[in-house]
Symmetry: C2
Subunit: 397 residues, 2 copies
């Protein structure tokens, strides 16, 4: 056994999260794509079978009350809240991430008031945030200004209404400085909107602590909620009474069953609801979130960094120098829970890796992306992934 393989065994032996792996459905594949679609938590199949057969099939319409369907968006939001550093009553689940970006950004612009005419957006963002920001700017009569995150402080001013940033870059895995950037946005008198898709469930976010104004995130990556599971919206408590949603559906009405012609928004987080919640997907997510019972986000972060450190070490050891370029920062303070490696033949390399039982993903044109979910990825798997990667890159795989 190689030195690195021995080290992996030792690291696995002292991994305080190792037992969590048994709460997922996994096999012999090394699954490093949890930053795209989290693995299936073992509690989900039984729960969803009950939701379908008993709650829908037998209780039918009564389940809106008796099975707690009606209150699921805010109840599940409260389950996500501690994972992103939010006190209760500020997170609501529903709709896609894109739709929540729209709510958050138009809401932020309205909070900022008519005197501020510019929306700043991360120029390196996952594209949907940029497209939706463009639409929000167009519909609210603002100008969109795409800026690399590092340049953001330099462009803020009294024209800035809102700033939309990603906590972790989807491509490179770079972790941005949420506390510092939020403070800079506030110093300019603007509102900070954060996209947590690639950070929530992998590292501490601290929404309340850092005074973030609004935030959105998906639930199908490190939160393992299932394909296309509903996203969430955070609105800081102090802003909720002024939050003015561009999608005021009947579910966000103060009295939804009053069936009134005039819209009067509900107080609190549920002001972010829109239409009838998507119950099957939502309750699958609720079951998936049970794996977080007793888990501290700090322990997850510590293991995440240990996993990515170890992967980088194994890659440095096994892969010929210069064969790949690492896009992910080496400083812990700048790293999320993924490693992105660039090589010209990334597409075919990833296809071969998948054939060999190591699943990451390919992002055009030349990036190999490997996500490390601390709840179910182990160190021996990391060593194996790096070893197989080296073989494939050497043309021997």
């Amino acid at each position: 056994m190689s030195e690195l393989a021995s080290r992996a065994e030792e690291l696995d032996a002292v991994d305080e999260l190792a037992a969590k792996r048994a709460e997922f459905v996994l096999d012999e594949v090394v699954y490093l794509d949890g930053n795209s679609l989290g693995a299936l938590p073992a509690a989900v199949p039984g729960r969803i079978a009950d939701v379908v057969a008993r709650q829908w099939g037998e209780l039918r319409i009564r389940s809106w009350e008796e099975s707690g369907w009606w209150t699921a968006p805010e109840r599940i939001g409260d389950r996500i809240a501690p994972l992103v550093g939010a006190a209760r009553g500020q997170v609501v689940v529903g709709d896609s991430t894109s739709v929540n970006v729209f709510k958050a950004l138009v809401g932020a612009v309205r909070l900022a008031g008519p005197g501020r005419d510019e929306i700043v957006v991360d120029a390196t963002t996952f594209p949907t945030d940029g497209y939706i920001a463009e639409s929000a700017a167009r519909l609210t009569g603002r100008t969109l200004r795409p800026v690399a995150p590092a340049e953001v402080p330099g462009v803020l001013g009294d024209r800035t209404a809102a700033v939309l940033l990603n906590h972790v870059d989807y491509r490179t895995g770079r972790l941005h400085d949420l506390p510092g950037l939020t403070a800079a946005v506030h110093a300019a008198g603007a509102y900070a909107v954060w996209d947590l898709c690639h950070s929530a469930g992998a590292l501490p976010v601290g929404l309340d602590e850092h005074g973030v104004d609004l935030a959105v995130g998906c639930t199908y990556k490190y939160l393992n909620g299932g394909p296309g599971a509903p996203a969430y919206l955070y609105v800081r408590r102090e802003l909720q009474d002024r939050f003015d949603s561009p999608l005021p559906g009947w579910n966000s009405h103060a009295e939804p069953f009053g069936m009134r012609a005039d819209y009067r928004p509900a107080p609190g987080a549920l002001r972010g609801r829109v239409g009838t919640p998507d119950i099957l997907s939502m309750l699958a997510l609720e079951a998936a979130l049970e794996v977080w019972d007793g888990v501290s986000v700090e322990a997850v972060r510590a293991k995440s960094l240990a996993l990515t450190d170890f992967f980088l070490e194994c890659v440095a050891e096994y892969v010929s120098a210069g064969r790949v370029e690492c896009l992910t920062p080496s400083a812990h303070a700048e790293r999320g829970s993924q490693v992105a490696l660039r090589c010209a033949d990334a597409g075919p390399v990833m296809a071969r890796l998948v054939e060999r039982g190591v699943v990451g993903d390919f992002r055009a044109p030349d990036v190999l992306r490997f996500g490390f979910t601390p709840l179910y990825v182990g160190f021996a798997e990391v060593e194996r992934a790096a070893r197989v990667l080296a073989e494939v890159l050497a043309g021997a795989g």
Copy 2:
């Protein structure tokens, strides 16, 4: 056996849709709330178990391609299309009805162009359509004009950009004149947006035939897709190239995995997509739609009218004159697939009915609503429902 009970037996004996009931999970309850939440189709539990355990649990990320997840929104849209009289390629599934109303109405206003500054909306609409229309008007700088459907032709003119109407009124069950109103909207040079929530799956809609511009609908009523199942959006083929969505998420990009900073909309129905589709709910809906195999919407409509006619006849026979007032039109051309009865004590009456195994619903302040889903409601059930209703209303129940 009473004369009406005998008639019910005869009607059930010649019901060409009677065999469809076996494709649903039902019990001894008379379920007349399919206009709120359709009953569970028997194909769904097995399908969703496979989606969860095998597609998500085993194939994981590969299912986006291998299990057809990526193309589900337009594939399922094509399955709904014939039920609403649409040729393929014009219906896409995803998001809630409220979100689709927003897409459709902002899209319609943009089609109409800057010279038209008024949005007309059904003043008796299910509230969410009115709230969202108000938001669409505010964000596009138009004025919202709520008008009773019968008055709509009189207010149309060269200021009218778009008109949002309900095919069937959620409260009274009144069927509006979609062909005539659409023609009137077109004569004024405006765009017609129809909400099909209470008509699709219960009667012919004829979107293509009548030249409807845009339409939306939910899938959890007569389409039995499950609680909060994704809604759909129809954009008439001739308008698709000019349809300019206010929610241009990455899923509606012409090249979604190109990860490009510039938005370039996809052609066809999938321009109505937004974010990552909600796969569990979406594939439950796909399984649910299989009950429509071999069913003609005309046969459904014929049975629907026979059911509501028979219910009204039984109510007239069993219930004391004047005890309830029927809000649903007696003319077939003006009736959807529900019967709404008004009485001052509708709340407690419905609670008692539910206890007695007859499930309809109550709409504040004084309406008893009974929905008749032709695929699984039989005539003997209708007679029993009317009989129990009469007993409850007489205070003997």
